[in-house]
């Protein structure tokens, strides 16, 4: 039953639907809600300024609870019932991988926001025709963190604490260790916890005994804040380092001094004027700051708009073709989609340091290979 839509809204009228999936409930709801808010904000702005190819954009967002099974259902509904022309999201790699088959069957493109697992877009060396993304991938991020720690900060002894039940955390930990060891550094401890845990002192006490110079903590800000605080409580003085799960105002609020002097890898420089502009618009509408996912949803939307414009059509397959040649400047950096990877090629990471309770942009950093 693979009949695709021909760029017509349900009434054949002036509205074109764009789908979104992600978690509005469950333990990753914070990020999902931020994405949907962003898309609704952008769609509203676009509609106010005349819409896209003369049509109004309507965002249809469905909750997945972060569950891959639900994601498949949601996508099926989006493409067959709501007849969306393209889908943005999800943030979880698992969901993004689970929906590939459906996308291909229905020939509708998807632009993932923060799904960082390499296999989201490329499987067994073959690119998946309808999966795209705007974020860089786990190996890259892990390597950036390891490279920066080794080359720039000059650390030789690192410890890793990660969430064993979380795909993202496991991925980052793996690639950090790989790169760090390849460069000649030493991983003195590798400890794990499990999603939902709130106490990390046993692991930290063990890490403390190995005296690392840096502790890599590739997980989300809630756990990051808690573990940072507990690390300081145990008298650990090592530098802490994280990934793109860290950036959030909540981190600073929760962790306070504990994360002072820490570094993390980010998709963007928060001080960038364009970023500031978006932040303000978001805040004006929702009364709070966007989470990191908001910025990536923003760029996913930009990428989509660009593709539609260049395709000059709402035909999903035409959009897909145009997506393969996107090359724009997003707020998270330059996004040039690679034809063979469907990833934003050569997207630089931003290294941020926490100083004086603020995010301080250090430098753009890229590892070559």
């Amino acid at each position: 039953a693979g009949c695709s839509n021909q760029g017509q809204g349900p009434a054949g009228g002036d509205v074109v639907k764009i789908g979104w999936i992600g978690s509005l409930t469950g333990d990753t709801a914070v990020w999902g809600q931020s994405e949907l808010n962003t898309l609704e904000l952008l769609a509203g702005e676009l509609n106010a300024s005349g819409g896209l190819l003369g049509k109004k954009i309507h965002i249809v967002g469905y909750d997945t609870r972060g569950d891959a099974t639900e994601a498949v259902n949601a996508v099926k509904r989006l493409v067959s019932q709501d007849k969306v022309v393209a889908i943005i999201g999800p943030n979880a790699s698992s969901s993004a991988m689970a929906i590939s088959g459906t996308l291909e069957e229905m020939k509708v493109p998807d632009i993932a926001t923060v799904a960082t697992n390499p296999k989201v877009t490329v499987m067994d060396g073959k690119v998946k025709p309808f999966n795209f993304r705007v974020c860089f991938i786990d190996p890259y991020q892990g390597a950036v963190a390891a490279g920066y720690a080794f080359d720039v900060l000059g650390f030789r002894k690192a410890a890793v604490l990660y969430d064993v039940a979380d795909e993202y955390s496991q991925g980052l930990a793996e690639f950090f260790i790989k790169t760090f060891e390849e460069k000649g550094g030493q991983i003195v401890a590798k400890e794990a916890f499990k999603s939902g845990d709130t106490d990390f002192r046993p692991q930290l006490a063990k890490i403390k005994a190995t005296n690392p110079e840096v502790i890599f903590m590739p997980y989300y800000f809630k756990e990051a804040a808690l573990s940072a605080k507990q690390a300081r409580d145990l008298g650990i003085k090592s530098v802490l380092m994280g990934g793109d799960g860290w950036p959030s105002d909540t981190l600073l609020e929760m962790a306070g001094d504990a994360v002072e002097g820490s570094y993390f890898v980010n998709h963007l420089d928060f001080d960038d004027p364009e970023v500031q502009d978006f932040k303000q618009r978001y805040n004006a509408k929702y009364g709070k700051m966007p989470e990191l996912n908001g910025y990536l949803a923003h760029d996913a939307f930009m990428v989509l708009v660009d593709a539609v414009k260049r395709a000059n059509s709402f035909d999903p397959v035409a959009i897909r073709d145009a997506l393969e040649t996107v090359d724009i400047e997003g707020i998270t950096g330059k996004i040039k989609i690679g034809k063979d990877t469907h990833n934003p090629e050569g997207k630089e990471a931003a290294i941020i340091k926490i100083e004086g309770g603020k995010y301080k942009f250090q430098q753009k950093y890229a590892v070559t290979d």
Binding site: T25, D63, D67, N73, S94, M123, A165, E167
Partner: protein, 295 residues
């Protein structure tokens, strides 16, 4: 092209029905509570996909073999835990389910927590329907036999069951085994339908959802379990447009049905052909539904 979406939901409902059927035997008929069935599902799923994709067994064979692996594991688990009573058994299964997930999270050959993508899509509505029919018939026949009655006796009054010569332990083992096989098969089907596996899919939440379905449908009713699995799969889909309110409504609905119909949808009764005929006004026996075990 609504059908595409509906078909997807139906397939999922069918997969859930299989898992719930198994659990229904264990909880509904034998009276044992398990919060670890997602664990059996995970074992079934990973082994099925392993058999199918790494060892090249045909689809149906690998799914059934996956179910059997889950069953074998259940024999081991059962040996340790089936002597436990009530909530103690329940927590032991919970522990088991979580443990399975933890192991899978760590086993990198199967992709660890990052999952196993790229499984070919081999499940369609027809496959699921066939599995369902076989599953329902097997269970119905089993329940309406001396073995099924013995299981019900274990649920009702274990001591009395013993003195009328029922080897209660053995029936608990059998019941757990069969339910694990069902769960395993459901897992295999899920893997081949989602084309993706990840330990997170088989969390505690899934186990509890299935338990809710069994109770919701009514203890000791196969048709109730089927109906409940269907309704509770479809309900969240129908509520999809309520976004964040979806599971508020779902939770309220669960409470509501427990209060309004504490015996569950079917309350130990079964939908029978005779009963349907009665509703349609076709002459015959006047009873609308028949008690289970009486068919």
């Amino acid at each position: 092209m609504n059908w595409f979406y509906i078909e997807g939901v139906l397939i999922l409902a069918g997969i859930n029905i299989i898992a719930v059927l198994g659990l229904s035997l264990l909880t509904g008929f034998t009276g044992l509570f398990s919060f670890g069935h997602a664990g059996f599902m995970a074992i079934g799923a990973y082994s099925a996909v392993y058999f199918g994709e790494r060892m090249g067994l045909p689809f149906a064979v690998s799914v059934v073999a996956g179910g059997l692996v889950a069953g074998l594991v259940s024999l081991f688990i059962g040996r340790l835990t089936l002597k436990l009573k009530g909530d103690y058994f329940c927590i032991a299964t919970l522990g088991f389910g979580e443990a399975i997930r933890l192991v899978l999270d760590n086993v990198q050959v199967f992709g660890g927590a990052r999952g196993w993508p790229g499984i070919p899509l081999k499940v369609d509505l027809v496959t699921v329907t066939i599995f369902n029919i076989v599953g329902i018939l097997f269970l119905m026949f089993l329940i309406n036999s001396r073995h099924g009655r013995s299981m019900i006796a274990v649920r009702e009054e274990e001591l009395a069951a013993k003195v009328i010569g029922i080897d209660t332990y053995r029936y608990k083992v059998i019941s757990l085994f069969i339910s694990a096989v069902y769960a395993g098969i459901a897992g295999g089907l899920l893997g081949y339908y989602l084309t993706f596996l990840q330990p997170k899919l088989f969390g505690l939440q899934k186990s509890t959802e299935y338990t809710i379905m069994v109770i919701f449908g009514g203890i000791g009713s196969i048709s109730g379990s089927v109906l409940a699995a269907f309704i509770l799969t479809v309900l969240p889909e129908m509520l999809r447009s309520f976004a964040v309110w979806r599971f508020v409504i779902y939770g309220a609905a669960v409470i509501f049905i427990m209060i309004a119909r504490p015996q569950g949808l079917m309350g130990g009764k079964e939908i029978t052909l005779k009963g349907i005929a009665g509703i349609l006004g076709i002459p015959g026996r006047n009873r609308k539904t028949a008690r289970s075990g009486e068919v």
